[in-house]
């Protein structure tokens, strides 16, 4: 990947939810880029804010949640300034999404072909139905669904097939980015692998970018080019997937990678048990949000929040170990390529 053209720039994005117990800062001042044609994995445990992030990128956050600040820049325009009409155009045509539960994300009273034709006609209203249908057909077959299933209703399809229909809906309009929010979590292992192959294929053929949001880190290792690790509403580490796996920088990433089960027999390491639990986001810890669980915590970590520093080109981490600060007592670790 020599040329890294940027598809989407996210700057200082914050999302807040109001709950009975207070305000939850689900995504807190996050900035990153998505490159054209890349598969970016966004991983974290439940409650870290990754799903919220996915929805925020399509401005699909509903009350009691709200995007409180930030910009999302696509093709030179900040979609936060778009009005309803522009957003409707944006969703589906520029960015589309696949959800976790395929059963509820498709309309149960519409057939597969009707779904796709509708998607086309909503965005390109002058398209005739026959034309839309033939586009749909080609795409569906490409995705591995037989032509005779086009007239099926969602409940007549299996989980894997429904997800493919969702992918199809994203592709039929030549979206530039598909966000897959836990898209394979409810699928069987082999079907998940099939879908992963499919997604890789699609990226090769159409040059579509993929944002794969999941808690399944092994999946991200199989599939993605780059990896972003989220914890408590922050991206704590980001970089090429091989580099992050080989030399994780952030203590959370280190612990996380060591705690994942590996099916390979030659991996005989015992699973690492991370102490503590993810924090309550109505009262997040002061300073760095990971410091209560961090084996490397320094006094400065509970006082100030580290910024997301690019330590090498394409490699960033949000941790005081790698950032200078006047009050820091220990040495700053230099990251070498």
């Amino acid at each position: 990947m020599t040329e890294k053209e940027i598809l989407m720039q996210v700057r200082n994005l914050s999302v807040m939810y109001k709950t009975r117990l207070g305000e939850v800062s689900a995504v807190d001042n996050v900035s990153f880029d998505i490159h054209k044609g890349e598969i970016l994995g966004l991983v974290g445990e439940s409650g870290c804010g990754k799903s919220t992030m996915g929805k925020a990128l399509m401005r699909m956050i509903q009350p009691p949640g709200k995007i409180t600040s930030g910009q999302i820049i696509v093709d030179g325009e900040d979609i936060m300034t778009y009005d309803q009409k522009q957003m409707r155009d944006f969703r589906g045509r520029k960015v589309s999404m696949i959800f976790q539960d395929p059963m509820t994300s498709l309309n149960p009273v519409q057939r597969v072909d009707e779904h796709i034709v509708e998607a086309i006609q909503v965005h390109e209203s002058k398209t005739k139905t026959e034309e839309a249908l033939s586009r749909a057909e080609g795409l569906i077959q490409r995705l591995g669904i037989r032509k005779n299933r086009m007239k099926s209703y969602p409940h007549q399809l299996s989980g894997g097939m429904r997800q493919r229909v969702m992918v199809g809906l994203g592709l039929v309009l030549n979206a530039n980015l598909i966000i897959a929010d836990e898209a394979t979590t409810s699928l069987d292992v082999i079907v998940e692998a099939q879908l992963a192959d499919e997604l890789r294929d699609i990226r090769e053929t159409f040059g579509v970018s993929l944002l794969v949001i999941t808690h399944n880190i092994a999946l991200v290792a199989e599939l993605s080019d780059r990896l972003a690790v989220m914890y408590a509403g922050h991206i704590v580490e980001m970089g090429d997937v091989e580099t992050v796996f080989d030399t994780p920088l952030h203590p959370y990433t280190k612990g996380l990678l060591k705690s994942i089960p590996n099916i390979k027999l030659d991996d005989t390491e015992k699973l690492y048990k991370m102490p503590g639990e993810p924090p309550n986001l109505t009262h997040p810890p002061t300073g760095c949000r990971f410091h209560p669980r961090c084996p490397y915590a320094m006094p400065i970590c509970s006082k100030y929040e580290p910024y997301f520093k690019e330590v090498l080109p394409g490699r960033a981490v949000k941790c005081w170990l790698y950032i200078d600060h006047p009050e820091k007592e220990s040495e700053t670790i230099e990251v070498t390529a």
Partner: protein
């Protein structure tokens, strides 16, 4: 009969399952019932035999429709079999009366998948855990609170006194699963059915729970029947593993044996499909096409044949039976020998 229920036999096997069949009738409408005599059945378990040795962790692994959960439930006596035998410590479960079976439950306990759903929202944690003791040992009721506090400490719910009066919604998911584990252990059972026990826990908590379960197994001399769809996790806890497909066992042996020398095409595909958390080691094998067929009408012959890249004519006609190809390693495939020669 009472004696048998409470003594332990000295057989090697704690559980013997022989030719177990469990079919569920498909709901039909009134009109269908009038017009056709034939009923459709979901053939969840279609002829399964295996044994569980004392002190081992036997994994039942498979995707949806494999029948693994149903096998577990019938083995524990929560469901009735359609045909076949389930023998627990020498006792054939079908010979027991309802009351005798109820008493036998003390020796077989369950850890469910969803900890929040399996705890009574209106019972305090301490009360929930002591139920087993109160039911089966009513005479020692005074000691039960202490026994519960003791076991709560053992599973890591510390300080136990703090948690005793809490309710399920006041604690975290990981802690809830510990409560479920404590509840299962308090009666000192012989067999524990663990039905996907960590599937719903957070990633960072799973390692803790797995470790806990292994620790407790050694400390309490337990035997686990471990149901899972996650072959990676199974590696860390199962001694032996049975791979299930559409209601039948296709391969069974020691886990390290199966993972190192998978002999059934389905097992090979399944093992390859599991993502490996190492970006340098990405899967190159293609996946079998298609999806798991409907258990109401399983394919004739070998159930995997429509998706099997090695299928031949005999596969659609004759159903293969489990046969021992390596020591302690059984496979149900007509051509499994072909894989023997691979390393």
């Amino acid at each position: 009969m009472d004696n048998l229920i409470n003594d332990k036999n000295n057989n090697d096997y704690l559980v013997e399952v022989q030719n177990l069949i469990k079919w569920f009738p498909v709901q039909t409408t009134f009109i269908d019932q009038l017009f056709s005599k034939e009923r459709d059945f979901v053939r969840a378990v279609d002829g399964v035999s295996f044994n569980i040795r004392r002190g081992e962790v036997l994994g039942l692994a498979g995707e949806s429709g494999s029948g693994k959960t149903t096998i577990g439930r019938v083995t524990i006596g929560l469901e009735e079999k359609t045909k076949g035998n389930v023998i627990f410590d020498g006792i054939d479960l079908s010979t027991l009366s309802a009351e005798e079976l109820r008493k036998l439950r003390r020796r077989m306990q369950v850890i469910f998948q969803d900890p929040l759903a399996s705890l009574n929202p209106r019972m305090s944690l301490g009360d929930a855990i002591r139920q087993g003791l109160d039911i089966h040992y009513p005479e020692t009721a005074n000691n039960h609170r202490d026994m519960v506090l003791d076991i709560m400490e053992k599973v890591g719910l510390s300080p136990a006194k703090f948690f005793y009066n809490k309710f399920p919604h006041q604690i975290s998911g990981g802690q809830r699963q510990r409560v479920v584990i404590a509840r299962a252990l308090v009666t000192q059972p012989d067999l524990i059915l663990a039905d996907e026990p960590i599937a719903m826990a957070d990633v960072s908590v799973r390692a803790l729970l797995l470790d806990l379960m292994v620790q407790l197994k050694d400390e309490f001399n337990l035997t686990y029947l471990f149901i899972t769809h996650d072959l990676a996790t199974a590696k860390y806890i199962c001694d032996r593993i049975a791979i299930l497909y559409l209601g039948k066992i296709v391969e069974i042996s020691e886990l390290t044996e199966v993972y190192a020398y998978p002999l059934h095409p389905y097992t090979r595909a399944l093992l390859a499909a599991v993502p490996v958390p190492d970006p340098h080691d990405r899967r190159t094998e293609p996946m079998p096409k298609g999806e798991i067929p409907n258990p109401i009408n399983p394919p004739p012959g070998c159930r995997f044949h429509p998706r099997c890249p090695y299928a031949q004519e005999i596969c659609s006609q004759q159903e293969p039976f489990l046969r021992e190809l390596r020591i302690g390693h059984e496979v149900a495939c007509h051509f499994a020998e072909d894989f023997l020669t691979e390393s």
